[in-house]
């Protein structure tokens, strides 16, 4: 596999793992369900995500 493909794969994995890619999916979904409403900006989405994390603590293991 070429270096570029590797780099792409690593970037894809890191974006998915950290949830960075979540935003794109959220927008896509939003457009599907509410085609007329504007999609949230990255900033608004980040705030939404933070609020969600606030209410859903996830335990980290020992």
């Amino acid at each position: 596999m070429s270096v570029r493909r590797w780099a792409r794969a690593v970037r894809w994995y890191l974006r998915e793992l950290t949830g960075e890619a979540q935003y794109d999916r959220y927008c896509e979904r939003h457009l599907r369900h509410h085609p007329l409403a504007p999609v949230p900006t990255p900033r608004e989405y980040e705030a939404l995500r933070a609020r969600h994390r606030e209410d859903h603590p996830q335990s980290r293991c020992c």
């Binding site: 890191l14 998915e16 960075e20 900033r43 994390r53 603590p57 996830q58 335990s59 980290r60 020992c62």
Partner: protein, 722 residues
């Protein structure tokens, strides 16, 4: 709660899958025979070589060979014969997709998520302490335990929770076992979590005490996380990868900076006693749990995930390239005598209690019944995510064991025996180690501390410093040579502290939610998740609870780790007992009695070790093992006006009496709670076996999946990159 009376294995779909009995091709037979042979050679070398130096690579070969065979055959057996995942059945991620909690996730990404959530400091610390008994017993249990117990528990809990829309372990206990069992499970989970947090925080305190370098670099993680939080929230919203990379770079800078601070006039500011560190950690824990998550918790979590995966990969490379030689005995004398200084008690049950997380961890059941089941794309993926991630965690434990076993035994004991035994000078420590049957000269001890630029390595118990010294040996052999030793030591300390503090943050928050939930039943307002006074009160209570154990551990005259680590291990393994009880009950209830041994045998084993250990901790007449015998000895001393070493004053004597009473009572309470869960489960199981029709289960009904499988192979593993 909608309950279906459908037996768990029943399926309304018209066609049953064809009997899955694929033949192995000659090529794959040859391949697996080779893997088996390699693993067997690894074990053979470990078992037969005596009196000569063995390379740690054999440990790696034996472990990896065993994991491969177990994954290929045993986890496949569990999937096909016992759980019977069905990829035509929609998972909760598909059925309930909401773009937030529930969404089908690529299996490789989910494996990463799940591994990051389950891996922590536990598998790093336990095996280091267990090295007291030699490398062989520990390795055997880490490998056998994960294959037959730990990974099985994770996989089955994940599957059951997935079939119930991602219900938590506590909810499943209540619905599958009953109200009494459910309530006992809930209280046990909470109490166990408090102990875990207290002991983990103690590991950090022991690692940072009197170490300005370590304290500075770990303290710097707070401003770094705050900076990342602002960057991510305000300046470049959503750029997580970029922010994390900046964070990691700053972190490395903080480690380098620690070396300058140590040499500068700031050194005194960052040289803290254990008691001061306890108060810092408690204060930090409270603030972190009430601040908005985006400020501290979330960025720290990203940092910790990056460091975790990076360092573990580095360690694997280091072990294989440096190929260090194992220096401890295969089986030490302490294994049979039970008089080891690191933790007291005989191999059975205390080795198993001490290793805990790397082989079987009850805490994983909370993760496997939390976020992960809501993200699974296809049912068959529980095998890779549940079983596979736990095998990876076990491998981390093997590497921690290697790091400890490659140290000179003299140094190992000088670092891990209680302070009361070793004294404070290199001479006294050297003598104490000689008394244990090992040698290290005072000069060697001073040199070892100097090499990693620490004031002292004497009585740095808790596992983290030992692992850090071991890691620095391995890393400096591969990257940077001996000049880098001090850097790698503090890198390892930072890496462990980061793990633990992330666990402490998240655990305090989870504990606060649980407490709010429980107290909310008594007084409504406190249960409201956005009522600030309720949040503050519950956070303070949770922090105070683990803070109590942290403080008592840090000031314990007998050595906090020596006293509290067994409590930690017993608590963790009891949680596993609860999880395995739930699994076994569901298997029996759903008409899979003939396969109930899959979780039933590990359950029986974990009950045997926890109840034997608990029993000895309560009733043993040996004051080093039994908490109440210890209490009596020191209470008698107080009555006679004597000060018994290692206590130095009557105050110390009173501390010992209080601590051993609290610890003993707690163990009794844990055992009682778990016994309630098991008795209740046994009643349900008997009822299920006698009932002519299957008992109702809470499994959600079958809905056909609309996600296409890429190919319907003999072993469907869906989840294409989209």
């Amino acid at each position: 709660m909608p309950t279906s009376v459908m037996p768990e294995s029943g399926r309304p779909a018209p066609e049953e899958p064809p009997p899955a009995r694929s033949r192995m091709t000659p090529r794959s037979m040859l391949l697996w025979a080779a893997v088996a042979l390699l693993g067997a050679i690894g074990w053979g070398v470990l078992a037969l070589a005596r009196g000569e130096e063995i390379s740690a690579v054999w440990l790696v070969v034996a472990a990896l060979g065993s994991y491969a065979i177990a994954y290929r055959f045993y986890s496949r057996f569990i999937a096909r014969r016992v759980l019977k995942p069905d990829d035509r059945r929609a998972t909760p991620a598909e059925r309930l997709e909401d773009g937030v909690d529930f969404q089908p996730t690529d299996r490789r990404v989910l494996l990463g998520h799940h591994f990051a959530a389950i891996a922590g400091a536990g598998p790093l610390v336990g095996p280091v302490l267990a090295a007291q008994m030699g490398y062989l017993p520990g390795t055997l249990w880490i490998v056998a335990g994960v294959i037959f117990a730990g990974a099985v528990q994770d996989m089955v809990v994940l599957f059951l929770s997935m079939r119930r829309d991602g219900k938590s372990l506590g909810q499943m206990a209540r619905e599958e076992i009953g109200r009494a069992g459910g309530a006992a499970a809930l209280i046990a989970v909470f109490a166990i979590m408090i102990i875990l947090l207290g002991v983990l925080a103690l590991v950090v305190v022991n690692a940072l005490a009197h170490s300005p370098w370590g304290t500075f670099s770990v303290a710097m993680t707070i401003p770094i996380a705050l900076f990342m939080g602002f960057w991510l929230h305000r300046i470049r919203p959503g750029r997580v990868v970029e922010t994390s990379l900046i964070g990691v770079a700053l972190l490395l800078l903080a480690i380098v900076g620690g070396s300058w601070v140590q040499e500068s006039s700031l050194a005194d500011t960052f040289t803290l006693s254990p008691t001061t560190l306890v108060f810092c950690l408690v204060g930090y824990g409270f603030v972190a749990s009430v601040l908005p998550v985006w400020m501290l918790l979330a960025p720290r979590d990203y940092l910790s995930t990056f460091m975790k995966i990076g360092t573990i990969a580095l360690l694997a490379v280091g072990v294989i390239v440096a190929a260090p030689v194992l220096r401890t005995d295969a089986v030490s004398d302490f294994a049979s005598s039970g008089t080891g200084p690191v933790f007291a008690g005989s191999l059975f049950p205390f080795l198993f209690i001490t290793i805990a997380c790397g082989a079987l961890s009850g805490f994983h059941a909370l993760v496997a019944s939390g976020t992960t089941p809501k993200l699974i794309q296809k049912e068959s993926q529980v095998r890779m995510i549940g079983y596979g991630a736990m095998l990876m965690e076990s491998f981390v434990a093997i590497m921690a064991l290697i790091a400890a076993a490659t140290l000179e035994p003299g140094l190992y004991y000088a670092m891990n025996a209680p302070a009361g035994l070793l004294g404070t000078t290199a001479e006294s420590a050297s003598q104490a180690v000689a008394g244990l049957g090992f040698t290290i000269t005072p000069d060697q001890l001073t040199q070892a501390a100097k090499a990693v630029e620490e004031q002292t390595l004497i009585a740095r118990s808790g596992g983290a410093p030992t692992l850090a010294v071991g890691m620095s040996e391995i890393f400096s052999g591969v990257f940077g040579g001996s000049a880098m030793k001090a850097f790698w030591y503090h890198f390892a300390i930072m890496f462990e502290a980061l793990f633990i503090l992330t666990t402490v943050d998240a655990g305090t928050r989870v504990g606060r939610f649980m407490l709010q939930d429980m107290l909310g039943n008594v007084w409504k307002p406190i249960g409201r998740v956005n009522w600030k006074p309720g949040i503050w009160l519950c956070s303070a209570l949770v922090v105070a609870a683990w803070g109590y154990f942290l403080h008592s551990g840090a000031t314990d005259p007998l050595g906090g780790i020596n006293q509290l680590f067994p409590l930690f291990g017993i608590a963790n393994q009891l949680l596993a007992a609860i999880a395995l009880t739930v699994c076994t009950t569901v298997l029996v209830k759903s008409g899979r009695l003939r396969f109930a041994w899959v979780t039933g045998v590990p359950l029986a084993w974990v009950v045997a070790i926890t109840f034997t250990a608990g029993w000895q901790k309560i009733f043993s007449a040996d004051p080093r093992v039994g908490f109440f015998a210890q209490r009596e000895r020191y209470a008698d001393g107080i009555d006679a006006g004597q000060v018994l070493p290692p206590a130095k004053s009557l105050d110390d004597m009173h501390t010992v009496v209080t601590n051993s009473t609290v610890d003993g009572v707690l163990i009794a309470l844990f055992l009682l709670l778990v016994a309630v869960v098991m008795v209740n489960a046994a009643v349900v199981c008997v009822r299920a076996v006698r009932s002519p029709v299957p008992l109702p289960t809470t499994e959600t009904p079958y809905v056909e999946s609309r996600i296409d499988l890429p190919e319907q192979s003999a072993e469907p593993l869906a989840g294409a990159r989209t």
